[in-house]
Symmetry: C2
Subunit: 297 residues, 2 copies
């Protein structure tokens, strides 16, 4: 692996797409409308979480085949959470990834079921991924890691706190707890899933990758808040300025915009520093951290 | 095991309750309102699916400890599906198990997240159930069985077809396909999960239990349709006559009430007949079939 991870982005994205195509039921499969909507919801997006899984796999010098199910599963959980978060009873968003949200393109009931079915599929494919060269114990560990991160003590819990926090003024600690659950848990899971495919990994390496994941997860969310202020709908592919309209506490609202930006930069630097023990092999995750830091959407 | 399975119902129900209490996050755990609502949603109910798991375990002479996670997981999936099905965008029900539905007792967003979190927890506990004496391969097989039954090719798919069928006139074959997905898949999964805990089980025994599960699943649904006509809200714990009000095709509407009752009776008899190879050991599942056949709610 001499070329930068950047040179392999398209390859990994198309690898993910092939796996999504393989695992998602055909759009013609009974019930066709539901399966068509599940595929619709999975189109587009930055595929950041699967890329994190594959980049961690490169750092650990694992064959990508061992990462395919994890990459697919984290994307399915992410997409399901977007479909449900966009519902009228939740964030009530009409636009996602530059297109109508699933409940707009189909209907609310279908969107609820799309999210439900995508979540189930994430666990199903981890369990059914027999050709991966992973042991049953490794795949079972992956089910547990994914469930911990996605559930009520992770992502779903974070979304509940986020909704309850609308119109409330949060402290920095409360805001951080919210985002560690809502966004951070699943980003950390990307790293933990890659680690779960390698039984020989040292505790030190595991801890380093987990620290990287925690820093990136929080930095990503701070950046999201900053982009919501500085970005526009065209580059975001979703409505900008929503946080202020919804009276949400954000990093800029709690600490001020310049301090929020400084905190994000600090976290990105911390993430990079935690990878020192991997020496040159760290490049894929270092590149991804810089790539995320530079994003405009 | 000399006494009838009936004598052990309460024991199994309290065993399930203890396991739910153990696996559900405490109601005080962050985020407290979500976890309180998850526990609220899990209260009450007939616990039919867990009882099927335990009864199958008795027939196979397995220690109940090996069935605990499966019993808990099927109940969590069942409860999550009820919480989502009751939402205004779905069946729009105010009453469930004789109490306000979760979105009525809390709010819609919370109910969506309660369902999401309960689904995740079902997979999490199967993966995390280390004291069960089950191998990793067995627990992984259980994740796969549960996901197949719960997902878009099973229960979630059936719910999508059910919603799309409102106001439509279905053929008997269409109605049967709907219910094999919506209700049948998860009832069959109860039997398949019990089988997954015993690697020594013959293909013949597996097939017999699966056949029992399929018959019971369909019979149960036909009975549901019949009870919707003949029952009342007090004994049902939910609104009666909803099928007709929603212009839903039901077994009575498609085949007439007497023929629907006869078909259910036939299926219950078929379920019982499939257990002949277990001889006297079949009693728990035979008793449960009769118990279901006699239910008034």
């Amino acid at each position: 692996m001499n070329a930068s991870f950047a040179a392999r982005l398209d390859e990994y994205r198309s690898r993910l797409q092939q796996n999504l195509d393989r695992w998602l039921p055909p759009a013609s499969h009974y019930p066709a409308r539901l399966h068509e909507a599940m595929r619709y919801a999975c189109e587009g997006g930055k595929r950041l979480r699967p890329l994190l899984v594959y980049a961690a796999g490169e750092v650990l010098q694992l064959p990508p085949r061992k990462l395919d199910a994890a990459a697919c599963a984290v994307e399915l959980i992410h997409v399901y959470s977007l479909v449900h978060d966009d519902l009228p009873a939740m964030d009530d968003d009409d636009l996602r990834r530059g297109r109508p949200t699933t409940h707009k393109a189909y209907d609310e009931a279908t969107a609820i079921l799309v999210g439900d079915g995508l979540q189930t599929l994430a666990f199903q494919l981890l369990a059914a991924d027999r050709d991966s060269g992973l042991t049953a114990a490794q795949r079972l560990a992956m089910v547990e890691i994914l469930a911990e991160a996605a559930g009520s003590r992770g992502m779903v819990g974070g979304q509940a706190v986020d909704l309850a926090a609308e119109g409330q003024s949060l402290t920095l600690a409360e805001l951080e707890a919210l985002h560690i659950h809502k966004t951070g848990a699943m980003i950390l899971a990307c790293l933990r899933l890659a680690c779960a495919t390698d039984d020989t990994l040292s505790a030190e390496s595991r801890a380093a990758l987990a620290h990287y994941g925690k820093c990136i997860g929080l930095a990503f969310q701070i950046q999201d808040d900053v982009l919501d202020i500085e970005g526009n709908a065209a580059s975001l592919g979703k409505t900008a300025g929503k946080d202020e309209a919804h009276l949400k506490s954000t990093y800029p609202s709690v600490m001020g915009l310049p301090a929020a930006k400084a905190r994000a930069a600090e976290l990105f630097a911390d993430a990079a520093a935690s990878l020192a023990l991997f020496n040159d092999a760290a490049e894929p995750l270092l590149w991804l951290a810089r790539h995320i830091e530079a994003r405009q959407s």
